[in-house]
Amino acid sequence: MLQFQEIKMTFKKGQLNISFGWIFAIIVGAFIIFLVIYGITKFSGIQQTQQSAETSRSIEVLLNPLETGFETAQKVTISTPSETKIYLQCSDSGKFGNQKIMTRQKILGKYSDEENSVNVTIISRYIFSESPIEGKNFFAFSKPYEFPSEEDYEFPFKIADLIYLTSSDENYCFKGSIPDEIEDEVSELNQENLFLEDCPSGSINVCFGSGSNCDVEVNYNQGEIEKDSGVVFFEGDALMYAGIFSDADEYECQLSRLMKRAEQLMIIYQEKNTLDKAQGCSGGIESDLIIFGNLVRNFGNSEDIFVIGDYAERLNKLNSNQGTCRLW
């Protein structure tokens, strides 16, 4: 009983020892520490956002040289400060559709949060890639997308430059019965992750015709590409590379965007035709321009590319016959 009273007394003494000043300091101190931690977290989030925005924007800027010339295939290398995941998202809504680039960078072994990443929207570019692609270095090359797509046409009209983006960590092994022009182009391009022979293990196998262990099957004569993400159709080498290097859904969306651009270009050519007519040109291509414009406007999916391609051939012949009054 006596012992119990002593303990009770000690407790009372202890309670009295914590003054109001201490309680006040602890509460306010805890509040300040909380604010500092909160600030640091927010600040590192802002840093990640800034880095993401900078990387996405720099990718956009670095791809500029791919669009300023007539060269058939040009390439650039993009290096990022740390391991980066690049996400590409295509939308075909609106007059031209758009493509969003988002990057996430590895900081202290962990990729930055998605909420701290910034989307950079581009309307005038067509980047074909798997999404996401991961690495520190990336390779990009471009090819003009023209109608008609076969390279033996003298005066094709260009729709846009297509950009193919791949990670240096992923190797592509082209095998099977590769058409000569593809073989020449890939070897001339000299891109470090594209192989025609002595492919490293773990490469993505791109088989022309039939083959074993194929990740991507290209039926060049039929204009068909089969891969895990689906089957897509192409006409011409520019679209073939697009099909090889991108997801099926992304390919279809980008193709739809290209058709939208072609539709706008048809309007411009119709206007040019009217002006040339006023100067004395026959302007006989007018109705075909309208029909072609309608064809690209009603584009549904990549299967329609063959019908559009056939009409482009007709349009091209008519244009070539116009002599000095050629529209393109």
Binding site: S19, I46, E54, L265, K272, L275, D276, Q279
Partner: protein
């Protein structure tokens, strides 16, 4: 008893002021860091826009909406088809955000006319400039020398005429 209370109150007040001072110090340091970061971010944004602008004029001049293609003989680089640009002007609204620029102007600088006449469907080809987005030149602008080509009737014959011109691309620096 009253004296102890007063002493205690003074101590609490001292501590409160101290804590407040620490808090204000942290806030001020934070403000300095954040504002320096923001100004750096703005600098980076301007830098990217300038880098982009360097190739912008050439990129636009060689885009299918502007370029001569094979219409005036062989394929030419940095050659603007005046007829296409006139056609483009009709649908300029659709292209407003396409190149992320505020305006594009094409000027024929040689041979030089005394009077400035803006090109339209009615006065073509007797004109010397086109203001594509009609916003005037604002913000920053970059320019590039180009050939400006068109077709003209010359004694029952259609001839290709190419003149020395300039493509002026203006863009605004985003500060938000």
């Amino acid at each position: 008893m009253v004296k102890i209370c007063e002493k205690g109150q003074i101590k609490i007040q001292q501590m409160a002021f101290m804590l407040l001072a620490i808090f204000i110090l942290f806030v001020m340091i934070g403000i300095v860091i954040v504002s320096s970061k923001i100004s750096k971010l703005e600098e980076t944004a301007v830098e990217y826009q300038e880098q982009n602008a360097l190739t912008l004029a050439s990129k636009i001049a060689n885009s299918p909406e502007f370029s001569c293609g094979n219409s005036f003989g062989n394929q030419k680089s940095d050659c603007v088809d005046l007829e296409k640009v006139l056609g483009l002007k009709k649908i300029a609204e659709d292209y407003e955000d396409f190149w992320e620029v505020s305006n594009i102007e094409i000027r024929i600088i040689y041979p030089q006319d005394e009077e400035e006449i803006e090109c339209s469907q009615e006065n073509y080809p007797n004109c010397n400039y086109i203001d594509l987005l009609e916003k005037g030149i604002s913000g920053f602008s970059v320019s590039n020398y180009v050939s400006v080509c068109h077709k003209e009737k010359n004694i029952n014959k259609i001839v290709n005429i190419c003149e020395l011109g300039q493509i002026i691309v203006s863009y605004e620096v985003e500060n938000d």
